[in-house]
Symmetry: C2
Subunit: 205 residues, 2 copies
């Protein structure tokens, strides 16, 4: 019964500490501070003004668990985004298309109130609410980004194929996403981004 | 910019109604009643006695969302298991190995109190708690089953690759899983199953 070719890695127990923004049992973390996000927000003056007063704390971070590579493995983790605005825009992640662009992703709301902005290469754009009790399935071929539209920390649990990878450059090459999520008196609004010039898939894809 | 070869399916918004055992936005459901589960529980007399009094309501069910086939897609859904015992054993699902056996799966506790029983083909067996705030990553090559060890409905959210499939027969061929989860005065205990004769992978794998 010895099957060395399929020696399975051990199962992983994870603790989801949404309010603390931690994933117990995770084995990877990255974080972004405001100074990492040059060019992300449309209002460069507002960005510089906030940067001048910045305390250097992370504005968003990811804690993830990955134990397998290859097509069979999944990466799961939590994404945590502090509240705030830069100019008119709500706090957001850089966003990405998967490097293997047919790979999909599940996001499940854990705490706070946010939206997922999803844009297909053919010009479709959708904005879906994400909060506790709601989840969004991001199919392959959709650029996607999380935005915190509330006043509390916004956290989600995600799950995607271990071989998916991320193309973060596609949004920058397009002049930003097609839709902006801006603060209003009583919530958020979605506005067209006048700088958006359409998506170009990376040359390798 | 027209890319018919990568016409992306639309994103899916899902509502997780854990207490009701429903997944809003799902497009598939299956359910099991007690009479479907002949041979699942070790105590055949206790099973027949419960069946004689059975009301025919589902003892567990799955509501799932699948919009993509192929290696890039993920299936997500909720698995809901009513509480109870049959003989010494707590209520459980049939359990499975993925038909593409390197495919992994994430389970996230939504309501109630359960365990995931995980068994590798080489004889390793693990039992991990699953409840709100806890998740379990099931790597490829692990047979796995949910067990409700509480007095409430036990529900989990799951996510796995759309091309994984399920081999439900592997447990039956092995005389049941290696570990039994039985009720005790103050919770549960894990006992060896004397009928278990080791796992044999399906001949096609």
């Amino acid at each position: 019964m010895s099957r060395p070719e399929t020696r399975a890695v051990a199962p992983v127990a994870l603790s989801i500490l949404a309010d603390a923004g931690r994933l117990g049992g995770s084995n990877g973390r990255y974080e972004k501070v405001l100074s990492d996000l040059e060019g992300l927000y449309r209002d460069a003056d507002a960005y510089r003004a906030r940067l001048a007063q910045d305390d250097g704390k992370p504005v968003y971070w990811v804690e993830a668990s990955q134990t397998e590579d290859g097509p069979g493995g999944l990466i799961t983790g939590i994404s945590v985004l502090e509240p705030g605005t830069v100019g008119a825009e709500f706090a957001m992640t850089r966003g990405h298309l998967h490097a293997v662009s047919d790979r999909s992703e599940l996001y499940v709301g854990l705490s706070g109130r946010g939206v997922m902005v999803l844009e297909a290469l053919d010009g479709r754009s959708e904005v879906l609410d994400v909060e506790p009790g709601l989840a969004v399935y991001v199919p392959g071929h959709w650029v996607h980004r999380s935005v915190n539209v509330g006043r509390e920390r916004f956290s989600t649990l995600f799950c995607y194929a271990a071989d998916a990878g991320q193309d973060y450059g596609i949004i920058q090459r397009a002049g930003g996403m097609k839709s902006l999520v801006v603060a209003t008196d009583d919530g958020y609004a979605v506005q067209p981004n006048p700088d958006h010039r359409g998506y170009q898939a990376a040359s390798r894809s």
